[in-house]
Symmetry: C2
Subunit: 586 residues, 2 copies
């Protein structure tokens, strides 16, 4: 089979050789994921401000699209918490929750995300995801988790409260807390407690009761479903909805509504920035999950093919009445642990969700919103990673600054402001770090051919020669710093006759740095100082030659610093004031 075609359609790599064993494994994994995904789909749709059934729609066709086009064997796509939160933030300025326009905007947002992801695949722009540094993503997810949990508290209390930032959410809850519905609170608090218990304690308990660890683990994942079933029965049995417990209500049963999103230039333009962010964040999250799982089985993830997989999944979500989707962490791990072998597990999961949509929606009518909120809270609080914050602080203040800015802005201004500022700040800080690279004046270690930092070692230097080692690639952000530093050193040394730039750590010299080197050479020449290079790497040397740098370069290029100093010390015979320069030790 054509390898190129197989790369474009990963399904061709596994489907023709599909075995019975794989089918059994996939079927089992799909059942487990379906059980987990039904409540999650309903909950994340609610988080996005959409009718719960939209979450089910977003968990059918996208899974099939990903199974065909995605490169991960075990990634489980669908609605996820962070993207749902971003969806709510993106849709808020476009339309009011509960209106047809809001639903239409959600469908459009998924379509735009899909188009962006596919465009990124065609233009091979997957590297754009690298703009999102780990600290920014980690901070973003932690802050989103806090924000999501806070936003769900109103459902636990059974009150109405609006707010898209932490202070507004808290203020909204405080102003309404007296209206708390006691039955809702009981159900909500019990659900949160139960779900935390399931997450932390159920598996050890089951193991002690004699279950195999893997089965115990999988049973524990079905905890949310148990909460849902029990709470539905409680609502029906005690008529709690008549006592003010808000329930999901009527859900239209049947196939997802197939349609293309309506084109409205103003709405599309308004949603575009959010769609871009959602695409990038979703892509980064998804790829990192996919890669974690792929490596365990020594499989490969093609970043570009993942863009195609997620892009088609979002288009699929859009044309089947859903909202933006991506690869979810928890459900992918469950899928993997349950033994999924091929993306067919995802396709079977889709059939399971479709069955739920067709036949189980009448049951969900009596599901309390507080239970969905509890599901969300327990899920997202596990995203809050305080240890990562502490660790980033200890490792690098610059990375921590980007992380802290992201967290604070997400909590106090908004999710989009947070991630945009985080990305801008991490870029700025990176440029700032590389724009003032580590540079050391070096001298010769007595009796050797080695040269070390004069500030750290007892070394021999020559007042007529300045040897400067630069520990960074030279590019536009540090080219002027290099110039400034060299001029400053030259200005401080009246006896100076030669400057040697030692380049063993220079991996690249861009056009800006090239011009700076030429300017340095020319200006030092005008000041009567020689300018030389040493230990230039092969590829850098090639590039300099290509640019005809050496046509006008009056200095010398030395293979080693030792050679440079030995050669130049002989030339550096001072005629004015000062003692003759001692020759360096060979």
């Amino acid at each position: 089979m054509n390898a190129r075609l197989q790369r474009l359609l990963p399904i061709l790599a596994w489907a023709p050789r599909y075995t019975r064993n794989e089918a059994v494994a996939d079927l089992f994994a799909a059942m487990i994921v379906t059980i987990m995904l039904v409540p999650q789909s309903l909950a994340y749709a609610m988080l996005a401000g959409l009718p719960p059934v939209v979450g089910l729609y977003a968990s059918i066709l996208p899974l099939i699209a990903y199974a065909i086009f995605g490169s991960s064997r075990t990634l489980a796509v669908g609605p996820v918490a962070v993207v749902s939160l971003m969806t709510a933030a993106a849709l808020a300025p476009v339309a009011a929750q509960g209106t047809a326009a809001y639903l239409a905007a959600a469908v459009t947002l998924a379509f735009l995300s899909g188009l962006i992801l596919l465009a990124m695949a065609v233009l091979r722009l997957g590297f754009l995801a690298n703009f999102l540094s780990h600290p920014v993503i980690s901070g973003f997810i932690t802050a989103s988790g806090i924000l999501i949990a806070a936003s769900q508290l109103k459902h636990i209390l059974g009150i109405r409260a609006e707010g898209d930032t932490l202070p507004r959410i808290v203020a909204g809850i405080l102003s309404q807390v007296s209206a708390t519905n006691i039955f809702t609170l009981l159900i909500g608090a019990a659900s949160v407690g139960f779900l935390f218990w399931v997450r932390k304690r159920l598996k050890p308990l089951l193991v002690r009761l004699g279950f195999k660890p893997r089965l115990a683990d999988l049973l524990a994942k079905a905890g949310p479903l148990a909460a849902i079933v029990v709470s539905i029965l409680a609502v029906i049995g005690f008529g709690l909805d008549a006592h003010g417990v808000k329930i999901v209500g009527e859900i239209p049963a049947g196939m997802p509504p197939f349609a293309l999103p309506v084109f409205d230039a103003a709405v599309w333009a308004q949603l575009l920035p959010a769609a871009l962010l959602i695409s990038l964040v979703g892509f980064v999250e998804s790829v990192s999950v996919a890669q974690t799982l792929a490596v365990k089985r020594r499989q490969r993830i093609e970043a570009n093919q993942e863009l195609v997989g997620l892009g088609t999944a979002n288009i699929a979500a859009s044309i089947s009445g859903g909202f933006p989707v991506t690869g979810g962490f928890a459900r992918s791990v469950v899928n993997f642990d349950a033994g999924a072998e091929t993306p067919l597990a995802g396709a079977i999961t889709a059939l399971g969700i479709l069955a739920a949509t067709l036949f189980l929606t009448p049951l969900f009518r009596f599901l309390p919103q507080a239970v969905l909120a509890a599901t969300i809270i327990v899920a997202v609080l596990s995203l809050v990673d305080i240890k990562a914050i502490r660790r980033t602080y200890a490792y690098s203040k610059a990375d921590f600054a980007a992380m802290a800015a992201t967290i604070l802005l997400v909590l106090f201004v908004g999710v989009e402001a947070g991630i945009v500022t985080g990305v801008a700040l991490s870029l700025l800080l990176f440029l700032w770090r590389t724009s003032t690279p580590h540079m050391a004046i070096v001298g010769q270690v007595p009796g050797t051919e080695h040269f070390r930092n004069v500030a750290r070692h007892a070394v021999i230097t020559d007042p007529a020669i300045l040897a400067l080692r630069v520990d960074e690639s030279l590019y536009f952000a540090n080219a002027r710093y290099l110039e400034d530093r060299i001029y400053a050193e030259v200005a401080a040394r009246p006896a100076l006759q030669h400057v040697i730039l030692m380049c063993p750590a220079v991996n690249m010299i861009d056009a800006s740095a090239l011009e700076s080197l030429e300017a340095i050479a020319e200006r030092l020449h005008a000041a009567g100082v020689g300018f030389h290079l040493s230990e230039v790497k092969g590829p850098v040397m090639d590039a300099l030659q290509r640019a005809a740098f050496f046509d006008h370069f009056r200095g010398q290029v030395f293979l080693s610093q030792f050679e440079a100093v030995r050669t130049l010390a002989g030339l550096a015979i001072r005629t004015e004031k000062g003692a003759p320069v001692p020759a360096p030790v060979a």
Copy 2:
């Protein structure tokens, strides 16, 4: 004297020790610069869409402010071509040329630029100028030169034509070309021809006539003044203004109008982005001129102090009815060549311009606009640097792409769009370049302890060991690439038992890359492959230790790649298919 105070007020470094010799030199230089600056000031004000006298206002107080606060001894500030063009572009959407609102906006723009430069000084944000790479600046200046020259053609032809992009300017001229005023065209064309002749030929001619080269050079700089005097006499003598030759017209004589800019939040907000760009471009231009000159005399430029100098100069321009100023290339070189020793030369120049403003403005009334346009055209065409474009293309396609985008956008969309896109693209391309760093699989050069790229050298490798050398700092933009590359190599080598990452060119590992290294280590461990580091630099090793990286790191860190392979080859005893691994040659 307090060294800190001297740094904040560079005037304290030279004024107390001012000598008679310096005074003579400064006075002479100031006279030459004044003669050059008067026509330039008038012309650049016209280019900015302002009354010519505003150019004179902008050349008085700012020079005195810079003399006190600037760190360059010889920089000559005032209106310059590129910043004037940017000023015109910034003011166009705010008000119509010729209105009081336009003038007020120009004053506000200078004030904002001054505030931004001072804020950058306080926050030590001078490094922001590094965002502007050489190719972007070079492309920007070349395109601006073309745009400015094209925009002045209408004055040479004596027609009215609007347009802020090259196609619109050309279309405007073509639609009006039939209205060309023949007298204006004669004066304009003669001026352009004369000024080009002065620039290229006058100096050699004067030298042949027995003038000393330096004096000949300075006399040639007075060419524009000669064109102005002759053309004024011609207008008066032949009454050309009655024949449709547009003249500068009445200029109010007297002191500049001192006032603070009016605060209008909407206008300030509208001008802010342009003020930011003008500040950055002006700062970069100015610093590079100042540095060129300072190095020739082994003086120092403090980038931060330059921000203060230019910031106060712009505030001074604003409160004395001027528009944004910065250090000019041509006039600074003239100042330097004429022998200026201290910034007092600038202050004396300011007095010269003040005298011109007070007493010569009645003469300028009959100055043809075509002569000012000719002055501008000849000045800016020297900014067009085709060689730099060709050279950048040869050196680096990435740098060329940023440059080409800047040029095309400046010409066809606008100056601000051009520079913003150029900066964004150069950042993106830099990230893209460092996001896919050069990585080489290395093997041992037989009989040595050296390791080289397997693709370039005949080296010994071990199928159980993958040695990968990465030639770049590891940070967020390439952290995932590193992961992906290593996973791909591992997936392709079923017999692999150890991966060694060789880090001699890794100058930095940021928090993202740290997490990636941990993820690699953990995932490879899960796949039964050892992960090790070799030749890690001291500072990088320190940072890894600070982050407790080694608490969980199961691999080893080797001082040399040779040691790594020697140690691991002993451990890598393969039990399955395949021949036993030969020990590497010691």
